[in-house]
Subunit: 238 residues, 2 copies
DNA sequence: TAGATTGTTAATCGATTAACAATC
DNA sequence: TAGATTGTTAATCGATTAACAATC
């Protein structure tokens, strides 16, 4: 940063520069960069150009450079990008080293599938507890994660540094649980229920995994495919 | 449709009209319409205008009309949309009545979570079998879905009308299983593994649920939120 | 008929791609 | 220095919104 004697303009520059608008389109692509960079590291690749990466990821080199430059100049002209450095930067942007703590609400199959997944650890998220209404499960452990009673949820979240609540309980409970979390430090909901939640007013972020929507997109594509086959067959007859 | 005596121009019109380009952006929104229409039906609402629906869904009325008109004029001037009719049309577009059959590959927690879900039935997809390598599970039932040996997968898919394979097994197996499916009638892969699959050359559609990406998006938002809080605090000090 | 609301065209906005000067 | 590749600006492309004529 250039040092100037007049500090006022620089100060105001920082606060406006610090939060440049990054479009949702770019944000949604960041995790994909994260995955590919991990792959490159696993392969032992030290450096990569936007051109090489674009070939691998099936996107344009231009887009890669454009995306990365939303957050700063991570590359070097004539050289490309240092894989380790770029990965570190992406991790920083995505909060991998932020030490976020999560609880899973619902210890059914889905909750257990997530609890047993390496996904959280890979992304620096620490799952510290699970909650369920099932008396049979309360007190047990899934891996090394304790299953606690739903009755304790609110109190637990108030007395522990929980950042994220993962919603894997039946969707009927979603609204009520969301309410219980209003006065806790939980700031993010990772929602697997079909219920659409809007907690912006409570100052919480909701990220939903709409599995049903994904399935329907697949079905749509299958329909189009069948149409194409049928049309081609008709074309044949002609 | 207006009837004309000269039929040739009409014929060519149909084949070019039948597959109008529908953007990915529109396609990704269709399942959301599906969900809101189900909600309206459950509430007993018979008719809705694009304006009312837009308020509910937090999108513009213009977008709703634009989206729906990609597939045809489902509304009526001065009236709006008949909820049941529109729902039927959306179902048709999304293949809800196409009778797609699916198999789930991997009877672990995730596979079982999906098997027990109402999601498939609601979308007209019939899960007819599950597959696993675990001898303990083979021969058992999850709900009314039989768990079969992975060894039988290829043969089963060849002798049954399977449209969709759901990938819930460890990601290490993804490529190999995809290969096993090449010569089967399976045309769609619903992929829950972190492995990126491109099976366009084999004429298959892949729809992936990248849960890890979703989690990272949430973490990104949490980071931004914390930044804002910190910045506001600094602002306070000044 | 008058009012409402669609279907559709035109205007705007944003995101992607191309191009190239800067620079390692 | 010459070659390579970034960072960034400008051009293009596509998606969203606005507007309104058509029409129920």
């Amino acid at each position: 940063m250039k040092s100037e004697n007049i500090s006022l303009p620089e100060d105001s520059e920082i606060s406006s520069d610090k939060r440049p608008y990054v479009s949702q389109a770019v944000i949604k692509r960041l995790p994909r960069y994260f995955r590919y960079l991990r792959e490159l590291i696993a392969e032992g690749t030290m450096r990569i150009s936007s051109g090489e990466l674009s070939a691998r990821m099936h996107v344009t080199a231009s887009q890669i450079r454009q995306d990365l430059n939303c957050f700063g100049g991570f590359g070097q002209q004539g050289y490309g990008y240092n894989v380790h450095y770029l990965y570190a930067k992406i991790c920083e942007i995505l909060g991998v080293s932020a030490g976020f703590k999560a609880v899973i609400i619902g210890a059914g199959n889905l909750g257990r599938a997530l609890a047993g997944h390496t996904m959280f650890a890979k992304r620096g998220v620490d799952v510290i507890a699970m909650f369920d209404v099932n008396e049979q499960l309360i007190g047990s452990y899934i891996g090394d994660i304790p299953v606690l009673s739903m009755d304790e949820l609110e109190n637990y979240c108030r007395t522990h540094p929980v950042d994220i609540a993962v919603f894997t309980m039946p969707k009927e409970a979603a609204t009520q649980v969301a309410e219980q979390l209003t006065s806790t430090p939980v700031k993010g909901i990772w929602n697997f229920t079909a219920k659409e939640l809007d907690l912006r007013e409570q100052g919480k972020v909701v990220e939903s995994v709409h599995m049903g929507d994904s399935l329907m997109t697949l079905c749509y594509e299958l329909c189009r495919m069948q149409e194409t086959i049928r049309d081609d067959a008709e074309e044949e007859i002609k």
